[in-house]
Subunit: 184 residues, 2 copies
């Protein structure tokens, strides 16, 4: 796993595919969401196939900043150091999530880089696309109906519209969808 600054265009002879990945809403860190895993597996099986040396995967995990801290029910913030610790905990959890994707890529023999950013996922993904200039962005999608989308919003729709590179959205398969499709 390399720092974001090392993502340069030196490897321009490879096809560079960026994947937006997030944690499972049901199981939490370090588990990847079903849609992230679907997008990853689709990329491996349908695009990279046996040509492992022709591609480089760029895993981006965006963490939504927890402004009020209520998310982190076990923590008591008594000093500035406590906040630093909470940030460090986020970072460690995000790192464990990325580890799953990096390890699997490594096992298969596909080059990769992975990094974490804080912010609004859709905005950060588009910003990172602009900076890193991948050949393709692959994002998962929960496959929500129009009624559910109104409340949840979809990162993928925003990326298709605004990212400055080709974008492909991979829907979860029906059999992988949890009881409440808004989950995971």
């Amino acid at each position: 796993m390399a720092a974001a600054t090392s993502v340069e265009r030196v490897d321009s002879e490879m096809t560079r595919i960026m994947l937006g990945v997030n944690e499972s809403s049901m199981k939490g860190y370090p588990n990847a969401s079903i849609s992230s895993k679907s997008a990853f597996e689709w990329t491996l099986n349908k695009i990279i196939r046996s040509n492992t040396s022709g591609f480089k995967l760029l895993f981006l995990h965006v963490q939504v900043p927890d402004e009020d801290g209520f998310d982190d029910v076990d923590s008591i913030y008594a000093s500035p150091e406590d906040f630093r610790d909470a940030k460090r905990k986020d970072k460690i959890e995000g790192t464990h999530l990325l580890e799953y994707f990096v390890k699997r890529s490594h096992d298969i023999g596909v080059a990769c880089e992975a990094w974490i950013k804080k912010g609004d996922p859709k905005e950060v993904i588009c910003h990172e696309v602009k900076r890193v200039k991948p050949d393709l962005l692959v994002v998962g999608n929960r496959g929500l109906g129009p009624f559910q989308r109104v409340f949840v919003g979809t990162v993928s729709e925003f990326c298709v519209k605004h990212c400055e590179c080709p974008v492909v959205t991979i829907k979860r398969s029906a059999e992988e969808t949890p009881q409440d499709p808004v989950d995971d």
Copy 2:
């Protein structure tokens, strides 16, 4: 080039990529539009790369039926046979368009099939996706701004929303855009 009926899922071990292709609005048949060619070249260079045996390309060309016949200014329709001839002419011109893509695929060594359908391009593409079940649909896009899109409409936006498979839209590069971006 094979008939549409032969497009079966027997080659399921290959990644099957459908490409929607159309003629140049400026140069007419048999020239392919800039956006069709961009989508094709992107697929070859960024996805297929050297792995020519891992992919099969499915070229679909949709012809918009010319209801009043005014398009075909050189023709005089005096009998039902004349209409049959006009239809045949369409078919021949469409075939020449597909020939460009099939020949280039053949030269590179990528398996392919190509066929022509009549109808509203966006509806027909989605219908053919449902029937043929490709792993990915690649469509070109003229990269029109929101103002131009209102009048022209984009097939790619419709496909992203409605086709039952992953869809990737490839925009023309800025230097390939003709003076009037609605062209080609």
